[in-house]
């Protein structure tokens, strides 16, 4: 079981309020991702749940039981750190065994769980090596192994992939998702990378300056961002956000159009501009289009083989029902 509830949880460092009072419920078995720009308080929130930081006010419950004042070890949670935080003087086997040793588990059970975890994480051949002799991806697996053998109520991941190279990151992303499917244990995952959030999460929590901006499934956030911040943060490439007369035409302060919701037409169109940089991804092409009267270039997704090059004139029409509208406070207008 691993249902975690935060009630009016608040964190201050001295006079500085890092996390204003905040409510959040994480259901058992959910994969929740905290995402936001750096300094938004997502790691602090995770550390509050872990017990590595004390909450200034409010209450944390794990499976209904108050955990606010419990030390980290007593909360039944396991954490995977950004730096892996392996014990450098211990072999992989001892690293994985450490939490079980601390719990006083009998040796036979320890060996059984180590063998199982090592098998699942492809670490069987490395059990007698030290962390220093492993690659980044292997170290990350050891850190995960150390977390799963405890059979915790929930896993906490603090930007676990940010030290890996791009190819490895995609691979580990899949592995962690697989792990979640097979263990069905609650996972809380912190990242600043919205692609990681979109691909892995059941539920995304978007944070800015300690505030929760929106909570929802990846597609909910994508389709109906609650405000301009979420609209701009979720989705890659970014949503085109326009103000002024373009927005006024839709009776609002800001409109947002995702790159894939702009159609290229032969003539006329709502926007006419010049093609700037074109990013050819093979399957798709993203054009950065300079439109008169709009400061930032607009991004347009087109097919893989569109015969437009730098400097060409392009005509764009937004798909009418896909335009997001926001009021003067930046909030979504339904």
């Amino acid at each position: 079981m691993g249902r975690i509830t935060l009630e009016k949880v608040q964190k201050k460092f001295g006079e500085v309020e890092v996390i204003p009072p905040l409510d959040l419920t994480i259901e058992d078995g959910e994969f929740v991702v905290f995402v936001g720009p750096s300094g938004c308080g997502k790691s602090t929130l995770l550390r509050l749940i872990a017990g590595l930081e004390d909450v200034s006010d409010g209450e944390i419950r794990i499976d209904g039981k108050p955990a606010t004042d419990l030390p980290p070890a007593k909360r039944g949670l396991a954490m995977v750190f950004q730096s892996y935080a392996l014990y450098p003087h211990m072999t992989v086997r001892k690293n994985i065994a450490f939490p079980m040793k601390m719990a006083g588990m009998d040796q036979a059970e320890q060996d059984r769980r180590i063998a199982k975890a090592a098998g699942a994480l492809n670490l069987t051949d490395y059990l007698d090596r030290r962390p220093g002799q492993l690659s980044g991806g292997q170290r990350q697996r050891v850190a995960i192994g150390r977390a799963i053998v405890r059979e915790p109520a929930a896993f906490l991941f603090d930007e676990p992939l940010s030290n890996l190279d791009a190819a490895l990151r995609v691979g580990m992303r899949m592995e962690i998702s697989e792990l979640h499917k097979s263990l069905e244990t609650t996972m809380i995952y912190v990242t600043h990378d919205q692609v990681e959030a979109m691909t892995m999460a059941d539920k995304i929590v978007v944070l800015r300056a300690g505030h929760i901006e929106q909570v929802g499934s990846p597609l909910e956030l994508y389709k109906a961002p609650r405000n301009v911040f979420v609209a701009g943060f979720i989705g890659s490439p970014k949503m085109n956000l326009l103000g002024g007369s373009h927005a006024a035409a839709h009776d609002c302060t800001t409109i947002g159009i995702r790159p894939e919701h702009l159609d290229v037409v032969a003539s006329g169109g709502t926007f006419t501009g010049r093609v700037g940089v074109a990013e050819h991804l093979g399957s798709d092409t993203f054009f950065h289009v300079h439109v008169d009267g709009i400061a930032e270039p607009m991004t347009v997704r087109a097919g893989g083989e569109v015969g437009l090059t730098h400097g060409d004139t392009i005509h764009l029409v937004p798909q009418a029902d896909k335009v997001h509208r926001f009021d003067d406070k930046g909030l979504r207008i339904a």
Binding site: A50, M79, Y87, P99, M102, A103, R146
Partner: protein
């Protein structure tokens, strides 16, 4: 990129370094030579360098006249004892200051260091009175405690510096893994700090071994270590340079040999963290 250094410069710096090294080493060399001279040769003017009748008579005389084994064992017990006691106190202290620093941690560290600036003689009188009152004058336990206290600031400072180099996330991981504070120190922190602790131990043994002020003043016979042993050859009967030298050589030989064998560890420990 290696810098080009002209041969002349190299020769100059090399001879300068050697010259400096020899000046530093000279007193030990001279003591060594004198310890093999007769008393008459030892005070000959002009001094005799290598061409004299080498003799072991000073070493025999020193052995006969005093109890070298007792002084040696006292030195070992006091140096090792005060070091172990100091480490036991300093590891938790340095842990606290490195990983859960408070507002005044820096001040405490500086204050501890400032006690090293206090002239030792300033506390001699109260310390002697206290020792007499407790009935521990001329006992090993007194010296163990006093030398531990004297070197404690240095031990704490050294360990603090080493502990600061250990990433905090690893200790947090241990906490998440269910380690109690005690287990965290025993299984995670201490093993990772072994190189630092080892060089702290070595340095402290050397400091305690060489400490002369307190060891001479607080002992008479029973707990007298090698420092007292040397001093006893300089006093009343006049100056016996050759015997004094022999006694000195016997006193410094063990620590010199230990230092020689552990110099790699010592240098590594002392520069730990300086180069990353």
């Amino acid at each position: 990129m290696a810098r080009a250094i002209s041969t002349n410069k190299k020769i100059m710096w090399t001879s300068l370094a050697w010259g400096f090294g020899l000046v530093m080493f000279f007193p030990i060399l001279w003591t060594f030579l004198t310890s093999f001279k007769s008393e008459a040769t030892a005070i000959a003017d002009p001094p005799v360098w290598f061409l004299f009748d080498w003799t072991l008579e000073n070493y025999t005389a020193v052995q006969e006249r005093s109890n070298y084994p007792l002084a040696l064992s006292n030195s070992i017990i006091i140096a090792v004892g005060s070091t172990i006691l100091g480490i036991l106190i300093a590891v938790p202290a340095a842990w606290a200051m490195a990983f859960v620093p408070g507002k005044r941690t820096k001040d405490v560290l500086l204050w501890m260091l400032s006690t090293k600036m206090l002239p030792a003689v300033g506390v001699l009188y109260p310390l002697v009175l206290l020792a007499k009152w407790l009935g521990v004058m001329d006992s090993r336990i007194l010296l163990i405690v006093v030398l531990m206290l004297i070197n404690l600031p240095i031990i704490v400072w050294m360990l603090y510096t080493y502990f600061r180099e250990i990433p905090g996330e690893i200790l947090e991981a241990a906490r998440m893994d269910g380690a109690s504070l005690r287990n965290e120190i025993i299984y995670v922190l201490t093993p990772m700090a072994v190189p630092g602790i080892a060089s702290t131990i070595l340095l402290n043994i050397i400091l305690a071994w060489n400490e002369a002020f307190w060891t001479i003043l607080l002992t008479t016979v029973d707990a007298a270590p090698l420092t007292k042993f040397i001093a006893s050859f300089s006093a009343p009967e006049g100056l016996f340079y050759a015997k004094l030298s022999a006694a000195s050589m016997m006193a410094i030989a063990p620590i010199l040999i230990m230092g020689w064998f552990s110099q790699k560890q010592l240098v590594r420990g002392l520069t730990f963290g300086a180069v990353k």
